[in-house]
């Protein structure tokens, strides 16, 4: 009989303590951010999709069409297109296709690049109506700014 009432007492007390926790939360300001109106600052180290870096000296990309990223990509989502041009050494980049629908953001392409021509963007708001919207041409993106 005694245990019956101690159980009742302990149980009721634990429930009231629990209610206390949620009540304190009620008075606590919300921790969430009102997303489309407020935005958090994204870490500069955030890995979005890759992009071609604009070299501050030459004002253009540093890609030498060595195809390392293309070959090393585990998801086969990079296609580098270059052509031999008169008057310049090696090949010149004409298109850098990134199929972002397949990319898993491992960063291997950024690492293998001998000229540090690639970097991650900080774009995280990605939404589109078709797959094709995520087939990026990074060279075009660079030229358009």
């Amino acid at each position: 009989m005694k245990e019956y009432f101690t159980q009742l007492y302990i149980g009721a007390k634990s429930l009231l303590v629990g209610l206390g926790v949620t009540f304190r939360a009620l008075l606590h300001p919300a921790v969430t951010v009102h997303y489309p109106r407020e935005k958090l600052t994204i870490s500069p180290n955030f890995h979005g999709h890759t992009l071609l870096v604009k070299d501050s000296e030459t004002g253009t990309h540093r890609c030498i069409v060595c195809m390392q990223c293309d070959l090393n990509c585990p998801s086969n989502c990079i296609t580098v297109v270059g052509e031999k041009r008169e008057g310049s050494k090696g090949k010149t980049l004409t298109a850098y296709h990134l199929d972002f629908t397949k990319c898993s953001l491992c960063g291997i392409c950024v690492e293998v690049c001998p000229t540090q021509a690639l970097d991650f963007s900080d774009e995280y708001e990605l939404a589109g109506f078709s797959r094709e919207e995520f087939h990026y041409n990074l060279l075009k993106r660079l030229e358009e700014g």
């Binding site: 429930l15 939360a25 009620l26 969430t32």
Partner: protein
């Protein structure tokens, strides 16, 4: 004007009451739904609905419009008539119970001698609706929900009634109006705190509120008895649940918390109704608060708690009260 004049005043009163009651049920559903979601958000450190209207106030309206616009799907091999009927079975009794609720000394549709018995009887009808809804859905999860609901309802009616009877012993009347008037000196909650607590717990179980929300237990039965209901029919269950909550709380206020009584406010004539609503909504707040704090009990634990704790204590409480009143 002429036609209105020729109608008997009793009939006019009935029509008006019906309109007011139905309007109130919908408004209460909207308000309580909003309150629940907003408070749920605040308990969880998030703001809750914010987008539709200022502070998300029109969110429930938007949801209602969405639900009305949705297709009503009737599962194959279910009993079509009963499937259509079930939401209304849930919804109609809650409107009827409104007749005896004394919102203030003047605002009451009809003061029945048997007010309390009437309201309890009508509210128990909700269980039938749940059973029908779960049974005819031709879905095992829904059936589980229905069976649970009936077992739970039957069990918890007992401590609920036992705790209410203690108040009847004190007031010598079943009339809701008399209940309020008898508390002019002291509220019954101070004389019968145990009965009040038992009634409130049983009320949570009656209305299928967490931690006793077994008929709908989301993580176990997906959505319980209303798994197969969609669109407007789903919203009827939803409205019925909120209105039932309102009734459970308004009975508590009438019987234990002094009904409409309270210090007069600047709006003298309406202060009774304002006090009544205020008390009801405080109790509703506690209901919501409990829901967003506790885990769900298991089914056998629910029944054990009823038979081993609530019923004996309520019975003991009743016996003691009866003795004291007699002496």
């Amino acid at each position: 004007m002429e036609t209105v004049g020729t109608l008997p005043p009793q009939l006019l009163r009935m029509i008006l009451s019906a309109v007011v009651v139905i309007a109130f049920v919908f408004m209460n559903g909207l308000l309580l739904g909003y309150l629940e979601r907003k408070l749920a958000g605040r308990f969880q450190l998030r703001p809750g609905p914010m987008e539709v209207g200022p502070q998300g106030m029109l969110q429930m309206v938007a949801d209602a419009v969405k639900l009305i616009g949705k297709q009503f799907i009737i599962p194959r091999q279910s009993s079509t008539t009963l499937f259509r009927l079930a939401p209304f079975l849930a919804f109609v009794p809650v409107g009827v119970s409104f007749i005896v609720i004394p919102l203030s000394s003047k605002l009451q549709v009809l003061d029945l001698d048997m007010g309390l018995i009437f309201i309890i009887a009508v509210m128990a009808f909700n269980m039938v609706a749940t059973l029908v809804a779960g049974w005819v859905s031709n879905n095992k999860y829904a059936l589980f929900g229905a069976v649970r609901s009936v077992a739970q309802g039957v069990a918890y009616e007992i401590p609920m009634l036992l705790s209410l009877v203690t108040v009847v012993l004190l007031t010598h009347s079943f009339s809701m109006r008399a209940m309020v008037l008898s508390q002019s000196h002291i509220w019954h909650v101070f004389m019968q705190p145990v009965a009040f607590v038992i009634y409130f717990i049983a009320g949570l179980a009656e209305t299928h509120r967490a931690p006793f929300d077994l008929p709908e237990a989301e993580s176990e039965l997906t959505a319980g008895f209303h798994t197969e209901f969609s669109g407007i029919c789903f919203s009827f269950f939803f409205l019925a649940e909120y209105t039932n909550m309102f009734f459970v709380c308004s009975i508590a206020v009438t019987l234990f918390l002094g009904g409409w009584s309270g210090p007069p406010l600047p709006w003298m004539e309406y202060s009774g109704a304002i006090w009544f609503m205020l008390k009801v909504y405080v109790l509703l707040f506690i209901m919501i608060w409990i829901r967003w704090t506790f885990p769900r009990v298991r089914f056998d634990q629910l029944l054990n708690f009823c038979w081993k704790y609530l019923t004996p204590i309520a019975l003991l409480n009743l016996l003691i009260t009866a003795l004291v009143v007699k002496l």
